[in-house]
């Protein structure tokens, strides 16, 4: 057994053990450690008395304060809803036109709609509703299903080609892939469609394209897009005469669209967002375009 030695620096003796040169001082535990240990234990015991804490066989100690995270959450939600009621009731009960005419209400729509839009819609439609490849711009006048608020609200509710029972359904056929039109006819139709929108020719077009394609268009495209190509909001068929292109307006993009067809997808928001939130989004989205102009 080793002999305890006195450490000259501290004046304490070692425990008398030594491991490869390491020794330990036989110094009492500092009082402050006991103090803090006692303090944290007392804090814990008090906390256990106040709050739900220890499991019993079939239940647990509920704590004298009667706090429970589920009921306090429900209570907080109730209070928050009551605080918002002053304006939410107005949004819920008044019609779109009345709300749009009310400046103070629209200010609330702009403030509360922005995070709602950015959290739910911006992933596809862009932070400012500017759209992106395959996703419509929301700040222009081109509305696939119509621009009135009730229609926009319905689109948000059921989605497009979504899994909702009442979903809007819209599909453009794959004219090339499915062999309905040959390559030359598609190229002519591309030229024709681009001319409808007033796009500048690129020089690749055949000279008699437009005449040849008019017939093809009438036979294949007009059923949905209309004889003059102005689209049909009943079917969600885009207006081809404006400058808005969901999948791009250059010759290659339009060719791809006609060749492969399109079946855009928008999820439905009923069940995920409340009726109030969807109404706010409707107003917010329409306001995006309105304030832009």
């Amino acid at each position: 057994m080793a002999v305890a030695q006195r450490d000259p620096h501290t004046g304490y003796t070692t425990t008398g053990h030594e491991w490869n040169g390491i020794t330990e001082l036989n110094r009492p535990v500092p009082k402050v450690i006991w103090l803090f240990l006692a303090a944290t234990i007392i804090f814990s015991v008090i906390y256990w008395v106040l709050m739900p804490a220890w499991p019993l066989v079939e239940t647990y100690t509920k704590g004298v304060l009667g706090v429970d995270q589920r009921s306090s959450l429900a209570e907080n939600l109730r209070i928050a809803a009551a605080d918002r009621a002053s304006w939410t009731q107005q949004i819920e009960t008044r019609n779109f036109a009345e709300i749009q005419a009310d400046d103070s209400l629209m200010q609330i729509v702009r403030n509360t709609g922005r995070p709602l839009f950015e959290d739910n819609c911006a992933t596809c439609h862009g932070m400012k509703g500017q759209g992106g490849h395959g996703f419509p711009r929301l700040t222009d006048d081109a509305w696939l299903w119509g621009a009135d608020p009730a229609t926009v609200a319905e689109t948000i509710r059921v989605g497009i080609n979504s899994t909702h029972n009442e979903t809007r359904v819209s599909q453009m056929q794959a004219f090339g892939r499915d062999g309905i039109l040959d390559r030359a006819a598609i190229l002519d139709v591309v030229t024709y469609v681009r001319s409808l929108a007033g796009a500048e020719p690129t020089g690749d077009e055949r000279s008699d394209s437009i005449a040849a394609a008019a017939e093809v268009f009438a036979a294949n495209c007009a059923a949905c897009h209309g004889e003059s190509g102005t689209g049909n909001t009943e079917l969600g068929a885009p207006d081809l005469t404006d400058e808005s292109w969901i999948y791009g307006g250059d010759r290659q993009s339009v060719y791809t669209t006609v060749y492969r067809g399109r079946q855009g997808h928008m999820p439905h928001w009923e069940g995920r967002l409340s009726a109030l939130e969807r109404k706010l989004l409707t107003l917010f989205v329409l306001d995006l375009g309105a304030t832009k102009q």
Partner: protein, 552 residues
């Protein structure tokens, strides 16, 4: 390596390798054209390669009996080098992931390079690859010295070290090809988990056998911590990974737990992985290398006792603080919170015991970057345990949870505490293991120290800022009573901090690379004369326990 094994051990090594290769071939066949098949082939290849390595050294003469009068350090040497390789690899991935968060397009549209796969590569690589190998290597070194006994055989330490690295390789390669059971820090699938159990039990038994051979009457504190680390990690690993494989031919398995029980089991595991892997094991390192380097007695033996039992008892309850405000019953959250608060005292007692041990040696801390690494480690241990107890308080947690504050907290512990104590210990042990007078370059240790400290501080401050900003943005309401910010607003606000974090991580990585170079050059540089400290050898095993030691 093979020359150090006896004939019997070489034969046994071949048997183990052949069995391993056969298991690999079975998995390769059963999991043909699936990720499991890839792993089967990998296991078979490594098994066969080991057979060849052992055979190539098979006819070498047996090690002499003289070996028994020295410590067996070859596995420790290999472990240190492997740990540093893992450090460079996994810290590189970590910094990549950090840049990826700032610039998400850096995934290059490749599945293997997506955040969800790279992140576990980083965490497994640093925790298990770097930390685990460093723990194994130093524990072999420390247990032999503090027991004054050589390890009982030469094969089992190699089995533990190499087997453990096979587990790490299976884990990390699995993430790249999509194998994961989606449990944080327990991602590897069932076959890797089973293998780790075998390796880990061998480790535990090896430790106990060495302790049983000890020539010291008492067991030193470092051994308490190493042993707690090995024992509890085994328990945690087995329970949390209880799962049923889809079939023997599939990597996929389903957990034995479901719903909130699964979450609770996972965070009981997860938090105690922090406690017993990242704390207890490294406290073992601290308790040996710090007093050794400082040449000071431990401040208080009694304080060691309080800290050890406080930490081991209280940590076990704290895991539920990871699940505040969730489906977990309120009472479980209360217990997790209060035990976390009580845990602060023994944690600070440990940190204080380490720092006060330096009293009388602060001039060494000033002059010796190796000791300074250990000092800073103790400081960060204190900081991050305080922060941990603080974040475990429910109302605080409601702000910090799911934010970068958590990430900052973890890295204050992982970089400031775990990596610092590891680097300090490695710089202390490398000259001893390779019998050099000192490291190749003390200046490079100094450079590594400042790079690591700067990197850690930049990282932690960036995450504190971004975490608190995030938490506040997520709970800011407009006058109308709705959320003022969208999630993406908070992402935009995070961007500068993410860049700062990635720069901090880069500094830390460069420091580790310099450290690796320094270690490599220390090993490579021939010593001028053999340095054999007289005291650094075990007591012959025929001496009865408790015999008077030389020099006493």
């Amino acid at each position: 390596m093979v020359a150090g094994l006896t004939k019997g051990e070489r034969q046994f090594a071949i048997v183990i390798s052949v069995v391993l290769a056969l298991c690999g071939l079975f998995l390769a066949g059963a999991g043909h054209q699936r990720p499991l098949g890839v792993h089967g082939l990998l296991i078979a290849f490594l098994g066969i390669a080991t057979v060849f390595v052992v055979l190539s050294g098979y006819i070498a003469p047996e090690p002499s009996e003289e070996r028994l009068s020295s410590y067996y350090d070859d596995p420790s040497k290999a472990g240190i080098i492997i740990a540093m390789i893992w450090a460079i690899f996994a810290m590189f991935i970590g910094d990549w992931v950090a840049w990826l968060l700032a610039y998400p397009e850096m995934t290059f549209d490749a599945a293997w390079a997506s955040f969800g796969r790279l992140r576990p590569v980083h965490t497994t690589g640093v925790i298990f690859g770097f930390g685990g190998n460093a723990l194994i290597a130093t524990s072999f070194h420390v247990m032999q010295r503090t027991c004054r006994a050589r390890m009982p055989d030469q094969l089992s330490p190699w089995f533990v070290l190499l087997g453990y690295n096979l587990f790490c390789i299976l884990a990390v390669s699995g993430y790249f090809i999509g194998v994961t059971q989606s449990k944080e820090y327990a991602e590897p699938e069932w076959y890797a988990d089973i293998w780790l159990v075998i390796v880990w039990v061998t480790y535990f038994v090896l430790y106990l056998r060495t302790l049983a051979r000890r020539q010291e009457p008492h067991i030193y504190v470092a051994n308490w911590y190493y042993l707690a680390f090995i024992l509890v990690v085994a328990v945690l690993h087995i329970v949390n990974n209880l799962a049923v494989p889809v079939s023997l031919g599939h990597a996929k398995s389903y957990s034995a737990f479901s719903g909130v029980q699964d979450a609770m089991t996972q965070w009981w595991y997860g938090h105690n992985a922090v406690a017993f892997f990242l704390t207890a094991g490294f406290l073992g390192m601290l308790y040996y290398y710090l007093p050794k380097r400082a040449e000071r007695p431990i401040f208080s033996y009694r304080l060691s006792i309080i800290s050890f039992w406080g930490i081991t008892f209280l940590y076990m309850w704290a895991g539920s603080h990871h699940l505040h405000y969730t489906a977990l019953p309120h009472w479980v959250q209360t217990l997790g919170m209060t035990f976390s608060v009580m845990l602060l005292v023994p944690s600070w007692a440990s940190a204080g015991n380490a720092l006060l041990t330096l009293n009388g040696a602060w001039h060494r801390v000033r002059d010796d970057a190796t000791l300074r690494f250990m000092m800073v480690a103790a400081v960060f241990y204190g900081i991050s345990t305080f922060e941990g107890s603080f974040l475990a308080i429910r109302p605080v947690n409601s702000l910090s949870h799911y934010t970068d504050w958590t990430v900052g907290h973890v890295h204050a512990g992982a970089l400031g505490w775990v990596a610092f104590i590891t680097f300090g210990s490695i710089y202390a042990v490398v000259p001893i293991l390779w019998k050099r007078e000192r490291m190749y370059s003390a200046r490079l240790v100094e450079v590594h120290f400042w790079l690591a400290l700067a990197g850690t501080l930049i990282y932690v401050f960036a995450m504190w800022n971004s975490g608190i900003i995030q938490g506040l943005m997520w709970r800011t309401y407009t006058e109308s009573g709705t959320l003022a910010y969208s999630f993406i607003d908070s992402l935009v606000a995070m961007h500068p901090y993410y860049v700062a974090r990635a720069i901090g991580g880069l500094l830390f990585l460069i420091g580790a690379a310099i450290g690796f170079y320094n270690i490599w050059m220390t090993v490579r540089t021939a010593r001028e004369e053999p340095l054999e400290p007289v005291a650094d050898r075990p007591i012959a095993s025929d001496t009865p326990a408790g015999a008077v030691q030389p020099g006493e």
